[in-house]
């Protein structure tokens, strides 16, 4: 018995030792990219693997991608400096910038300057095409769903347009809207008939129609919103101190310089659903900020 105990303790000691030794060396500082993923893991992994490799090649620093699936988590990660560059939605980008003064808007996609939401309805719901914003009142007392609760195109802007048309959240059937969690889920739930109508990102809608996920016989667009600015790259204010002066500019020109001439860059842009990245300014997002404040999403 005692021999056995002895063996156990020697083994234990050995393992602790090995464990401790393997814990001690420090990694090299790397440039950390984050995004609120809104696509499937397979595509996402390809997209950010390529992006990291390309940025790493151009900027000569190790680049790592950290997925964060939760909107406020991404904002907090940016505020706490856990992420250096984040692909934010309109609202989350503003939230993050307000919580991290000095953060820089680096770029947006060509499509982001004039981004739109679409309101969709199940074809059996009897909801008709709407011609002006006040027509949204037909959604009164209907089962209606947004996407994720912090999404700009799936919640904030649609809620703003509803608000302008005089529709309150408590006017929907069941006294509250649903929150499907994602744009794809919104399509699926409206198409199934569980909800009569919903609002989502127009880009997702277009690709869902293209790949057959959305069935035009069952679900249709009833209103296309006016344009607003949405997704953008937001960078920490202290990148130059940490990675060398001029780093932020180099980062920006790297992103802006991508084109489909290069096969890797073309691939990345394709995965982002864009032809290129274009400069973006804080001013473009002042409307989002105002809407966010009006609707209580920004304090």
């Amino acid at each position: 018995m005692s021999r056995r105990k002895g063996k156990t303790s020697v083994l234990t000691a050995l393992i602790i030792f090995v464990g401790l030794v393997s814990c001690t060396n420090q990694p090299q500082q790397s440039f950390r990219i984050g995004a609120i993923p809104d696509q499937n893991p397979e595509k996402l992994n390809r997209q950010y693997k390529l992006l990291c490799a390309e940025l790493s090649r151009e900027l000569k620093v190790p680049v790592r991608y950290k997925p964060v699936t939760n909107y406020p988590a991404a904002v907090s990660a940016f505020r706490t400096g856990s992420l250096d560059l984040v692909w934010f939605g309109g609202l989350t980008g503003v939230q993050a910038r307000l919580q991290k003064p000095g953060a820089k808007v680096i770029a947006q996609r060509d499509i982001d300057a004039n981004f739109r939401s679409v309101f969709i309805a199940n074809t059996t719901s009897g909801l008709k095409q709407i011609n002006n914003i006040n027509g949204l009142q037909v959604l009164n007392n209907r089962r209606f769903t947004f996407g994720s609760e912090s999404s700009t195109s799936g919640r904030l802007m649609p809620q703003y347009f509803l608000h302008q048309a005089g529709v309150k959240l408590s006017d929907f059937n069941g006294n509250q809207p649903g929150f499907s969690g994602s744009h794809d889920a919104t399509i699926a739930l409206v198409q199934s008939g569980s909800f009569e109508a919903g609002a989502l990102n127009e880009r997702v809608w277009i690709s869902a129609i293209k790949n057959g996920r959305a069935d035009p016989k069952k679900v249709k667009v009833i209103w296309r919103s006016p344009p607003y600015a949405d997704y953008h790259w937001l960078a920490q204010p202290n990148l130059d101190q940490r990675f060398g002066s001029g780093f932020t500019d180099r980062l920006q020109s790297a992103l802006l310089g991508w084109s489909d001439q290069s096969s890797t860059q073309g691939k990345i842009l394709e995965l982002f659903g864009a032809r290129r990245f274009i400069p973006a300014s804080i001013k473009q997002y002042s409307k989002i900020e105002k809407v966010g404040r009006d609707l209580g999403k920004i304090q």
């Binding site: 814990c23 893991p41 988590a73 907090s76 969690g181 920004i298």
Partner: protein, 521 residues
Amino acid sequence: MNRISLTPPILSLLPALALVPVLAVVVTSVHVGGLQLLFEFFGAAIQPSLDPTVVKSAWRGLQITVATALISWIISTLLGILLGIASASVVWQTCIGKSWPAFLIRRILTIPRAIHELLWGLLLLQLLGLSPWVAILAIIIPYTTLVARVFSDQLDTQDRRALNALLQAGAMPFPALITALGPPIVPILMSYGGYRLECSLRGATLLGVFGLGGIGTDLQLSLQSLAFKEMWTALWMLAAVMLTLEQSINWLRRRQRANETTTNQILITFALMILLMSLGLPWLKGLEIDLSSSISWNPIPWPTLAELIGALNHLQWLKLISSTILLTLLASGIAIGTPPLAMMLWPSRLGIEVQSLIWALLRLIPPPLSLLLLLLSCQPSIAVAAIALGAYNLGVMGRLLKEGLEEQGNSCWKALQASGAGARSSWLYGCLSAQSPSYLAYAAYRTDVILRETVVVGLVGGTGLGWQLIESLGSFNWAQVILLLIVFATITLIGESLSDYTRHRWLRSTQKPALVLDLQS
């Protein structure tokens, strides 16, 4: 003479009445619009995606989840035991002759327990940023206090005659405690510890679903994009790990119980824990998750009084609280009442095996996923949310009931069978009756858990305090967050004292000291 008698077996079955309103609502709102997607979902089960990128990503996620679960399990169990000793009256009474410090510590420990690990995760994320410690701490904080509570409960309910005899004979307090209480408590601790590992694994998965990394993140991403084949890749992997874990814990427990002395059991278990711990840390590091990196503290701005009052007036408390409580009651009813009802209706060996398979499946599917699946064929309502939340916990309760019945003798059941009673009636009288007091005790624990878990389905269902809390977090409205947390904790604590009360009532009526195997989330 009081003729109506709420006997324990009836009390175990009665919660199933929650199925009546829930099913009534669901059946009237059911439709076939989402059938195609549902078929797609179940069809994908037999052909999960085998794309190397998907498998690799899921495999990496799985490792992170398992390593996180392991580390947090070990730390929470060890800390929990220490805190459990510190909050046991018998220890204080023996050492200093007074028991109020135990009472005090116990009260303090209720607060971290009242908040679901998911909320801890989201809160810690605000304070610590994207540190790998967030997920680990989020599990450790509530679990440590839970283990402490169960352990101190167990210590205090042990027979004290042996201890008193030793003290009378002049033994020093601490050695006397170890000698008298050690041997009976160790086996309980062993089996309870095993359950905690499974709980940690489920907790770690759920945290991932809300963006804190690991396989849950993969699940959430494929859920968002309705990529069912990829979702099943992750689900099957998770199932394999859960099953392996369950089986190996059972195997280890049986072996230990049969072969080892108490001292050896403790030694081997500790050695195993340290081994797993020292494997877990480098493992995570190998996955580029470095726990030795420094933690930065990023305090949030403390809200002013005016903001707090504003938040107090802004939120519709009555509606939030009542819908949360309604959701909890319905979900608890489903989770508690369904397993005995189903087993009573189909008590054959085949029936029980089929049911336990279904329960295993229900435990596997996180509530946000089942909620989305349900919403594909039902209109949204609180009933649907209750089913999603209830189903997950039903899986846990079903397993507890089955295990309890297996440990319990079947002599009464045989006697009733021999007297000609039908299979269902004899199961009800001969099996469920004797099991029901401890089942009800577990049910009381489970209700606490379900109340905390309303957060999880609130997000999709748009109902209750849980949803509001996520919404306020998403708006970075700290005044609302703080008020909501206080309300949440208060309700949880009230619920907990109520269930404590009922549990004590039911356990008092069992003869054997109850082995508390709470499968907390």
